[in-house]
Symmetry: D2
Subunit: 299 residues, 4 copies
């Protein structure tokens, strides 16, 4: 398939590499020349700009993986943007994590110019991107989802259609809102139980067979030593950074503001991560938030 | 076995009935004569007071199931209380849900008089009490736990030893702290996704295969219609009442205060349930809290 | 003085009328023709567009009073915007309430084209706009402040220089963040004292001579009947609407996010107003938030 | 006057000294012999126990100043307590800060034995106790208030009658709930304004002439250097300790729980102080909470 790929950062690079390995004809662009070089060595054709990717003759599918809404707007809607140059009929697929309102605005602009568009944010982190085991939450028309699915399956394992345009972003923002809340909840519960004298392993065992059970306790427990494979058991390195959770909680409260829905717990979670990040811990896995709860006076 | 049972309310009555059916010699007391009569018809011997239960000759095990710490203190530590009258060596088993500090204080007083004691709060509600499928979270010495286990197994299915005295209460309070937080988190996430245009079934499907997954989404989803068997799909009747969740969050924040641990999310959850209860919804299942999030102006 | 005025809404119209009455040569524009007509009858010259106001020959001062950052961006930075057309040297004065980041961005763009610019958000409401008793919080160069001051003094009473560009917005957002928090604090304190049996007048008297004293208790008490002149004593009509407080708390948490500062209380206040507004009370004075605290089951 | 005084801690000692200096016949007791000695040197008669104070022949007034509700219960209601021994007609006056429910329970028990009782918690700290400038918030009958007033005036400057029994505690708990909330609000507002580039003095000036004005900004500003006399300008030493604010917020949320009133902001404030105290800062003045907001990564 003739595919363009714009945005070769920590996530985009391994995703594009998986597509290159799968044998697609790939044209790529990134602001950082080194990232473009890495793909060129894997057989991709470098382009000099985003708009050059959009103009590739015979292009069938164009993917973007960008850091935030501002870049998505600029790459798609700018004067030298994709929509101004791409041929009608090319399927557009934005894998960035942004707010649903912007995703829908860009999808509408694409539709107005005769392009089909999907939003397909991912979860699974850089590890999932490298292993090709990402989850894609996809918003857009059923037929376009069907068309994109085989390509997505070369980068991920779990490909879910969430409904119309923007719904991929909605699904991700809702999931991560709950994730942020339940992680702090898990941290408060584990810290409280241990402070009151329980063994953390025993406590996790009780919770995981009871109504408090959640991904944050049974798969990613924030208490050190409970799960050998979890970031908590290796000093909170790797995993999903606190700064990324902070970003996603920002998207969630912003989206809630747009529809005037009160999300008191989500807003508080955002502020707790904001304090944690300000104190210099934004690079730690997000389960490290338990440290801000347990923190005591130094001796 | 020669068993005494004090406290025959909504939970205690069906628990005692299960013990009567299992063939134990049961002596019972409650402030409400009607509750005592119901057990007498099932073959139990009525007693005129708590202290009379404690004085039954040859008593081996004494269970209590009381509404709150004040009653536990009074029944065990009062001038006409159990500890002043019971023979040394009788195993005491308190199934009430109270704060861990009081549980430990009573257990120490029992030990000082030569009695062994376990705290064994339950989860599973009146349905579980009737069906004999409760979960018991048990704190106390290993040998005492082993001795009580066969009797507990006649009232419940999942019997967990949580460590020393008071740890049954610690496990319950920690679990329910997390449960209250994750239920509101689930409610915010479901309400936000739906407000932004997603189908609730599809959204629940995504969350339940992602990192937001929790008991409050996959087993007890608060959004009406997502899970046919959940209280949300029958007008939030039955289930675990909001007033009970409010009580447990009160125990959790109180316990956190005793060990000076910050539980910001738990404290906020408590206040949200306090508002909900004040508005007259304390009798609804606790998943009904989603109504306070979605509430709109009436037309 | 030769003055342009863009934005003649509930606030802008009475402000412009005060300038017209003071004898200035006024050219005005608004999207709503009726608003322009009202000013024309007071002697102002109507313009057909924002850019036409900017092009008035001999213009000395250009004021804008717009609803939000999006309109400020469009009016100043758009292709048909003020900056593209206005003569260098004209003093620009934006009285809109927007986030400090946007205010600084626009001020920088103005400076790049040789224009001086001040941000000067107001407080005092429509009543203050009509009576000419507004407070102006002004950010920008000292000399520009001195130049604008006489004109501002014709619309307001309290004109404060807050420092460099954007600082007018910073002062307003900080003040209103605290105002939103202390109003809910006052509501919780008054409601708690009354629920515990105190007379609201006596309670307010104690607080107002103690350390809880604040503008929200001594000047604008949210409890009905305590202050005869306050909105609480007339059904929460008039005053400063809950939806405006909600907007300002949104600006505050957004600004806090930009500098990564945790504002947990502010974020919670925002969510409480978001729930209140969603329930249909956004038009009530913001002290009506006490109703959401005291709300009980209807009989 | 023939006066008994029980509880000679940091607050009680200077209060009792002021009464001794005023020439009253004083009989005193405290658990700590050193405190009793200090009063004896000032002319007071030492007693061997609380009950001995209560039995002083001709006693007219008995004051207590105790750390918490548990001690108040024990001293008044215990088997060797005041009520079991004091003559009917002696006026009882408890200056401890405790929850209103306990205050009312003790007042009822006193009334049942023919004693009149007032609750009269203070504000003003140890400085006010020494200088005799405390504020007394008094609950109880009008006639008893009139009888106690002259003695209170020898220890304080502002003596306020707040209504019936317990209302002194209600007034204090309501005031300090608001104080804790508005102090954190002031800290968030000051920190936000400064982070966004404003001078703290200028910002405080704007707020203090605007609607954000409160005791926490105009008299006790938490930002260092704004008010030379405030604890913030001397490293947060002296003043009203964070641990005392934490205690009072605990009383407030407990009282709110008793009347089922939601106090979301108060509960969050309590948790923020709980974290601050856990981190070892409980001895700093409560305005130091601004440090937990501004805290950054150390270099």
């Amino acid at each position: 398939m003739n595919i363009g790929f714009i945005g070769l950062g920590n996530m985009g690079r391994p995703m594009a590499l998986n597509l290159a390995r799968a044998g697609h004809a790939l044209t790529v662009f990134d602001m950082a020349p080194a990232s473009v070089d890495a793909l060129a060595q894997a057989g991709a054709t470098p382009a000099a700009s985003a708009v050059d990717v959009a103009r590739v003759p015979g292009l069938e599918l164009l993917l973007t993986m960008l850091p935030a809404a501002a870049q998505v707007r600029s790459v798609y809607l700018g004067e030298q943007g994709v929509l101004a140059a791409v041929a009608p009929g090319v399927l557009l697929l934005d894998c960035s994590t942004i707010d649903p309102m912007t995703a829908r605005e860009v999808a509408q602009a694409a539709a107005a110019r005769g392009n089909r568009m999907l939003d397909a944010p991912v979860s699974g982190g850089t590890g999932g991107a490298e292993a090709g085991t990402l989850t894609f939450m996809v918003g857009g028309a059923e037929a376009d989802f069907a068309a994109a699915r085989p390509v997505l399956a070369q980068m991920g394992r779990n490909i879910v259609h969430c409904g119309g345009a923007g719904n991929g972003q909605v699904a991700k923002v809702a999931n991560n809102l709950l994730l942020g809340i339940s992680m702090i909840g898990a941290a408060e519960a584990m810290a409280l139980g241990v402070a009151l004298g329980m063994d953390p392993q025993v406590l996790a065992g009780v919770i995981n067979t009871s109504s408090g059970r959640c991904w944050s306790t049974d798969t990613y427990n924030p208490y050190p030593g409970v799960l050998p494979g979890a970031p908590a058991s290796r000093g909170y390195s790797g995993g999903f950074g606190s700064d990324l959770m902070l970003k996603d909680l920002g998207l969630a409260t912003e989206a809630a503001r747009a529809v005037k829905l009160p999300v008191a717990m989500g807003a508080l979670a955002q502020q707790l991560y904001q304090a944690f990040s300000r104190q210099g811990h934004g690079g730690l896995d997000f389960s490290a938030i338990i440290r801000s709860i347990e923190a005591k006076a130094s001796a």
